[in-house]
Amino acid sequence: MASVSIKQVGKTFDNKQDNTSYTVFEEIDLEVKSGEFVSLLGPSGCGKSTLLNIVAGLDQASKGSVFVGEKAVKGPGADRGVVFQEAALMPWLSVLENVVFGLKKQYSKEKAKERAIKYLKLVHLSKFIDSYPHELSGGMKQRVAIARALAMDPDVLLMDEPFGALDEQTRSMLHKEVQYIWEQTRKTILFVTHNIRESILLSDRIVLMGTRPGGIINVFDVNLPRPRKTSSKEFALLEEQINEQLAGEIEKVMKEEMGDDYNSQKATLLYSSHRNMGDHI
């Protein structure tokens, strides 16, 4: 296992057509300890996925650097497994072949197959190893993607809203599986989400990110015993606390997208029909 150090990382997108640039975040410092489960939580557009992609090596940071263990990140590598919002399985390969696909570089054929079967068992998919992705449900596909990432035996598991596109039941089932997997393997996990409950349920630490300017606005330690219950008092209090801080950020985003007259409080007062004074004339 390995720690992740994000050191003064900034990201700016340059628009070459009109010579403008857009800064997602100026400078982010974050230490994720070995074996720790950390969530990046924030409204859309705050750059949480961008940060994850930089750690994955899929995007380049404009400044600063990321270290995994002692090694600086210079591109994608087998030490970091990534699970995306969509499963990103190769449609022409069977479930087993999809998991083997990620192992071909490090292991011999038999060894790779053996490993793939082992990890498919871990996510309870041994019955479906010969199925093709189009025959699986969304939740099953995502479990294959998790098995594929885990089978590579990465030091760090990066998850980019992995359950964002799933229905509620499937999601809560996968929460349990991820917890189980984390307890079994003790991987360092960096988990991007916009779901507050999800982050409290799963993580040791929640990093709340804001927008305009992007960056870390708060870090919450989640000191609740596992397995966590969403109905417990402490859970609800923490959720409330995070929610309040997040609401301000979301309002900022909405204002930017909808114009300055947007206000989450007054909207009903202004536009409700009985206060309309001229439409029917």
Binding site: L58, P76, G81, A88, W92, F101, Y132, R148, M152
Partner: protein
Amino acid sequence: MFQTRMFPSPLLSFVELYRGFFETGILTAALTTSLGRISLGFALAVIIGSLLGIILATSKLADETLGSLVVALQSVPSIVWLPLALVMFQGGPLAILFVIVLGGTWPMTMNMRMGIKNVQPLLIRAARTMGYKGVELIWKVLIPASIPSALTGVRLAWAFGWRALMAAELLGRGGLGRTLLDARDFFNMELVIAIMIIIAVIGLIVEYLIFNPIERKVLQRWGYSK
């Protein structure tokens, strides 16, 4: 007034078919020649077209220079090349092969290029996190992912190649096209119809016995149909 000879009898056409295959053997010979030409030409068109398509899709430089040239060449019906080809290859069978290859290569190139360009970026990103890059990424991800689109290219390459072959044979030597023209010269309209039937039947066979099953399999496997 029309002469009755202008309207060939359907029955006699089938008699001609029988005679051409089992008595005189001219149809057997013509069919063998044509099928030999189309097989070779079609295979070459698919190979060259795929390679060109992959190059155009993966190299920006190639796409910006050769890309519009391919579009231009695609809009020139390949039979137009025949007079030039006949001179270049001294009227030999290579001229006809050349025309078939030219007919099939461009649609194959364009479809392969489009297939690769349209591969989901997420698949490429996922493959990169698993350590795939460069040629291996092209070979293991981009090409398999673009097979449905390439298959459309293969179909078109066949269709264009087959048409180009028939047209080229009318002007060149040997094969079904030439035999058809000869039959007209001898005013044997039944034989003309017989050859047209062969051409149509080959189209049917290729469509229903070769392309359709392959396409069904591929689309199912790639998850495009249920």
